[in-house]
Amino acid sequence: MTDNNSPAFPFAFSAAQARRRRCGSRIALYLFLSGAAVLFSIPLLIMVLTSFKSMPEIRQGTIFSLPAALDLSAWVKAWSGACTGLACGGLSVGFWNSVRILVPSVVLSILAGALNGYALALWRFRGAHAVLTALMLGAFIPYQVILYPLVKIFSFLHLYSTLPGIIVIHVVFGLPLMTMLFRNFYAAIPAELVKAARVDGAGFFRIFFEIMLPMSTNILIVALILQTTGIWNDYLLGLIFAGHDNQPMTVQLNNIVTNGTGIVEYNVNMAATVLTALPPLAVYFLSGRYFVRGIASGAVKG
């Protein structure tokens, strides 16, 4: 009764004709979307199913079948016993390394981005536009072009292969996107607000911490999601800059799966893969709309 797909069909059709066609195309629409949803879920489904199976069961080779029994041993082994080379500490080592990298990197890169975005949006000074352009272009540089010289610079500073080193790298590489994100957000704030606060005697930092940050909750959440998933999912920077003792989870995962010696344990590999995917997946499923907003704001930046 409600015409809830209203801009659907031209008036040229009779109502009955239109309804019949609409019904047919509605079915096609739902078939298309359901088909796509099923196809999109298959890889995750197979990973999870495989991780719960025993190796003999996997060799029978019906990847879609449900596991005969809920076998958690692959998960336990992936977490605490899987080997990378000679070390058999499991993925938990990489997980805690990733956490140690993630927390300071996220906090610092958001703070840096917010401060820069605020300075660029609300405080006019010469060359602001040039700074913005230089930052924005930085987001387009393929990492491979600058990695080797960066390694040289970081070795010179004794930061190469250290925890502070990889954190600094993440903050630096997060600078373009974070600054743009906050600049665009603060650019929409009336300049009069800052002027009024300055008349009242508030300085640059006081306005930032007492006025700007409290009204930035939404954009802070978006930034938090972007940086958390982005840094957790990073592989290349962790591989090159973190050093052996701080290898993030993604690097360790790839070592476990692709450089495994002896019998390949697919169930352990898949449990390890799911474990690594779990934190960003959790962020994604919990954050919902904010994740999409993050994508959109990233897109606006280019």
Partner: protein
């Protein structure tokens, strides 16, 4: 005036960091690509020597060509699929939130995870091929991931799975911004809905589509993780890409000259791909 000084005080370190970490390394890499550098950086100028040698390297040919094969197919399929999904979601359907969540979740996972998942799924001995054969179709063949001439297409498949949701989300946001009056007008004129999408909405969304293209192309040129996790460049060098070529040359083969020359070509590719976008953007907003 003094307060402006504080703002500059915040910005100056940023400028320094951006210059030291982004632009100085680019200049250094470009410079090194014109020198004799081998295992160690050397500062003796050698003209285009590194580039000639690169052009004569078979592995580079494969990598460079793969970037275009992968790029064209990945961007093409991701755009088409993403656009169709966005249009489908825009039809005021039920469970829109559910569909959107399912179609976008791959984007939250890393390329390493994506690659390892698809490697498992496409593994001929254990994965899809095995499954279909067990189901009765004995000579079913889907071993692309181990075939040098086909493996690159499996990477396209995994990448499209990972990134179509990105296109869908961005275009859906664009569709939601389209003026309702346009729909009313086309309805009155009796223009079929699909034609409206193709001839009116799509041109209207050109900036949005362009943004998608740029984002996808940057991922193509940078691509490294996905290839490493799925095939590690193999079989042989069949799925090598410039991003992997540069890293291998710089950090495993210790050939800084070749790594730099290849990196400069990557940079030029990005510039060539992104230039038109900037041109259109400035023309659109510069008025």
């Amino acid at each position: 005036m003094r307060r402006h000084k504080t703002a500059e005080f915040v910005i100056v370190p940023t400028i320094a960091v951006v210059f030291i970490c982004f632009y100085a390394p680019i200049i250094w890499t470009i410079f090194i690509s014109f020198t004799r550098s081998g295992m160690f950086p050397s500062y003796s100028f050698s003209g285009l020597m590194q580039y000639w040698r690169l052009v004569g390297t078979e592995r580079w040919h494969t990598a460079f060509l793969n970037m275009f094969v992968f790029g064209v197919l990945f961007v093409g399929f991701a755009l088409i699929l993403g656009f169709l999904l966005a249009v489908a979601l825009d039809q005021r359907i039920r469970f829109e939130g559910f569909f959107r969540t399912v179609l976008l979740y791959p984007l939250s996972m890393s390329f390493i995870v994506t690659g390892l998942a698809w490697q498992w799924l496409l593994n001929p001995a254990m994965g899809l091929q095995h499954l279909v054969r067990e189901a009765g179709w004995d000579n079913f063949l889907f071993d692309w991931i181990i075939r040098p001439d086909r493996a690159i297409y499996t990477i396209v498949l995994a990448a499209v799975w990972h990134s179509s949701g990105l296109v869908m989300a961005i275009i859906l946001a664009g569709l939601r911004g389209v003026d309702r009056d346009i729909w009313r007008a086309t309805q009155v004129e009796g223009i079929p809905r699909w034609r409206t999408y193709l001839s009116i909405i799509l041109p209207l969304l050109r900036p949005v589509v362009l943004t998608c293209v740029v984002l996808l192309i940057i991922n193509v040129v940078r691509s490294y993780d996905l290839v490493v996790a799925m095939t590690n460049g193999g079989p042989g060098n069949a799925t090598d890409v410039p991003g992997k070529f540069v890293i291998d040359m710089a950090f495993e083969r210790a050939n800084i000259g070749q790594a730099s020359a290849a990196a400069v070509i990557m940079l030029l590719t990005v510039i060539a791909a992104v230039m038109p976008y900037f041109y259109l953007e400035t023309r659109r907003t510069g008025r």
